[in-house]
């Protein structure tokens, strides 16, 4: 049984939904971030698999761009998290509910 692109896609889909579940389930801000990273990774896998399938290099280029943006986002996000933690001494997002209606 050969590994078709569908296997990669399915795996990516599974990791993506697991990442989504992680964002919504975990209260620790850092773990939420990591879940987002997982989602981005699964998308990268999809891009590269599609590039393989279609014979285009653009897919890999896209994966590179996703990585760059993900890196930048992590940088800023963690800086924000650190600033919040300095003020509030908590990384539990449920406690950051001052915008409650």
């Amino acid at each position: 049984m050969t590994v078709t692109v569908a296997w990669y896609m399915t795996l990516a889909a599974g990791l993506f939904s697991m990442g989504a579940a992680g964002v919504l389930l975990r209260r620790n801000a850092l773990v939420m971030f990591m879940s987002v990273e997982l989602m981005l990774n699964s998308v990268n896998l999809t891009f590269v698999a599609a590039a393989r399938e279609l014979g285009l290099v653009e897919g890999q280029v896209a994966a590179l761009f996703v990585m760059v943006v993900a890196a930048a986002e992590v940088t800023i996000g963690l800086a924000i998290l650190v600033a919040v933690f300095r003020r509030r001494a908590t990384a539990n997002v449920d406690e950051l509910s001052a915008l409650k209606g």
């Binding site: 399915t10 975990r26 990591m34 990268n44 940088t75 963690l78 800086a79 003020r87």
Partner: protein
Amino acid sequence: MVETVVFVVFAIAAVVGAVAMLAARNPVFSAMGLLLTMFSMAVFYLLLDAQFVAAVQVIIYAGAVMTLFLFVIMLIGVDRREDLGEQIPFQRPVTFVLAAGLFAVIVAAGSSAWVTGSAAFGDPNMNGTIESVGRELFGGWMIPFLATVFLLTIAAVGTVALAQFGPGGLRLAPRGEDEESEA
């Protein structure tokens, strides 16, 4: 044959890493799990003829991003255990439903004509060497590349700015002056 075995092994590794990330109470363990998943991703990229992307994955993601995560975990000292309870009602069941639904939808979408039906119109001899990726990147995708340059610059500047927020609020004066005035 080899490919199949490698795929299966590292697929299981990836899933295990993901589940570990989700389920671990200690954030350090979550980071470790994610690291495992990322290494598996790199292997997949190699299987898919994307050598450059695989290298970048290891260097950037596993090397820089995850290290950054671990640094921050250590810095703000949240390596304590998180409690298990869920406050928001129905969050867990609904999330499971959502995740399952998302998975189903994507797989269903994937099995339709959109993704697999179209004929390959690219180059069957495509490879992911640095040369070919470089040609593509600096060829048609120059402007997005430059945009990412800006993006990273702004991210760096922003991070430095965010570091100015101390426990008592914004701390604009450099530390040296504070010490001078105190002396």
